[in-house]
């Protein structure tokens, strides 16, 4: 044990904390080794920025007079359907929700210009949207229709929730068929015309702590400019993945459920995405701070783009049909070079995740910690399959 989280927070308070981004750690470890770097650095920051369909906001509206019960009724916001299966004034808007009259893929490939994600981004930019609620009326909530215009300030609370975020490792998508396909991994040209990936690699939060030794339920994180929290394992979390020699998972594995206050978020760190032929999604900025509690934290965070490898998956047939076919692996360094080789064919690569923005996230989080505006928390429980470092 090198230091405790309390000691790190004391250093943050006194302005003496030493923070390095996961990219900087690579260089530090190359220069001076793990031991020395672990002694020097208190916190490592990571970051990623990319579309996460499993995003939504839930919010509470001030009641109308007379009152209306949203729960069990029908509601829409800016023409996009809301989930109204909760209490009288609680509503949920998902990033992928679309207006009923959107042509979707009727004109293929659909453009998906506007959906839940666009409203979430619009709210942060000060836009207001029309809320429509219809319900049956009760003795305590007699109103049957309520139409009004609301912006972010009008909500009592507005909370972002990701049932799944921060996927630890993800597929590299190719298309073995002839025709171009339109997927959540982007446009994939036929005959392996391109290969798309979705990770920030050596900066990726969970690839820098592959065994989840520092992150758990209750970890405070950077989420779209706000302070957020890890509240649970994310959906599809794999507790015991297959790993390589470095401990990196071989296939998509750990995920996190995240929550954060939408009112504290910033449109610089959150963007609506219109994914051609697929639908709308929300690109979110996520940064995870790793407390350097022991040397292993630094050893893990020194992972390089050359170390991380991803499985290549065909999205024309194998993925839609759920077939697991081994098409080989490729490293992040190769992907970032702009060209990879599959079966002796040079295939250009593109990314859905912005490494540039991911780096900005890691730098912003580093700044906040150094400025003394972001403190670390001790997780209250480990994620399934993980063991937290004993403090």
């Amino acid at each position: 044990m090198l230091r405790t989280i309390d000691e790190i927070n004391d250093k943050i308070r006194s302005g003496k904390v030493v923070v390095a981004t996961a990219e900087e750690v690579v260089g530090l470890v190359q220069d001076q080794g793990v031991k020395q770097t672990a002694r020097q650095v208190d916190v490592v920051t990571t970051g990623t920025f990319g579309p996460m369909c499993s995003s939504g906001i839930y919010f509470n509206i001030a009641q109308s007079t007379p009152k209306i019960k949203c729960g069990g009724g029908r509601a829409s916001f800016g023409g996009v359907p809301l989930y109204a299966g909760w209490a009288a004034a609680d509503l949920l808007l998902g990033a992928t929700a679309l207006p009923d009259d959107d042509p979707r893929n009727a004109v293929y490939p659909g453009l998906f210009k506007f959906g839940g994600a666009h409203i979430i981004e619009g709210l942060l930019k000060g836009e207001r949207y029309r809320l429509e609620v219809r319900n049956h009326g009760t003795d305590c909530y007699p109103r049957k229709e309520y139409f009004t215009e609301l912006g972010l300030d009008d909500f009592t609370q507005a909370t972002m929730f990701n049932p799944r975020n921060a996927y630890q490792l993800y597929n590299v998508a190719i298309n073995l068929n002839k025709k171009t396909i339109y997927t959540y991994m982007g446009v994939l040209k036929g005959n392996m015309g391109n290969a798309n990936y979705a990770t920030s690699g050596a900066l990726s939060p969970l690839l820098n702590d592959p065994k989840l030794r520092t992150v758990g339920i209750g970890t405070r994180v950077f989420l779209c400019g706000a302070e957020g929290y890890v509240v649970y394992p994310g959906t599809q979390h794999v507790p015991q993945p297959q790993r390589d020699d470095r401990g990196l998972p071989l296939f998509p594995s750990a995920t996190l459920a995240l929550v954060g206050d939408l009112k504290q978020m910033n449109p610089r760190w959150l963007r609506a995405a219109s994914i051609t032929g697929y639908g709308t999604s929300l690109a979110v900025a996520f940064g995870l701070p790793l407390p350097v509690l022991d040397e292993q934290v630094i050893a893990d965070a020194s992972v390089t783009d050359a170390d991380i490898t991803f499985p290549i998956v065909d999205y024309s047939q194998n993925y839609p049909l759920g077939r697991v076919v081994d098409l080989g692996r490729v490293s992040m360094a190769e992907l970032m070079s702009g060209r990879i080789e599959i079966n002796n064919k040079a295939v250009p690569t593109g990314s859905m995740t912005s490494r540039y923005q991911g780096r900005q996230v890691s730098l912003e989080l580093k700044e906040r910690i150094k400025r003394g505006t972001f403190f670390l928390t001790r997780p209250v429980a480990a994620l399934p399959g993980a063991t937290l470092i004993d403090e």
């Binding site: 920025f49 990319g50 579309p51 490939p109 339109y182 982007g186 446009v187 040209k189 015309g193 391109n194 290969a195 798309n196 963007r271 609506a272 995405a273 219109s274 994914i275 051609t276 032929g277 999604s281 690109a283 970032m336 070079s337 702009g338 250009p348 690569t349 593109g350 990314s351 859905m352 995740t353 912005s354 490494r355 540039y356 923005q357 780096r359």
Partner: protein
Amino acid sequence: MAKKKVVFSFPPRLISEPITYRLVKDFDLQVNILRAMVSPRERGRMVVEISGREQSLQDALDYLIEHGVEVNAVVQELRHHPDLCVNCSACTALCPTDALTVDSTTREVSYDPAECILCESCIPACSYQALESQF
């Protein structure tokens, strides 16, 4: 050898004229049509890359202007909006030239109009409306 990328806009009466043929035949130019939008009774538009001797090139353009063809330099047929771009690089893999590239160090994506052949392959790849056709 000189090379120019230009937009021709021509009125309906010229649509049936074999303009590109003239450029090849009379001025000994190489003509590479990048984009064309010609519909009867309306103005036609064509984005072409022409190359040949400097003098022939100039003569050809003078000839066209004399005959009522509007000739404009390709300024921004495709626009990249850096303020909307998140630098993901989903577009670069689809670009057949080096018009869209990602810097190997900064990971910033940039657009070079000089390399662009206006194929528009990149537009559907961008989820953030950062690439827009002006054609």
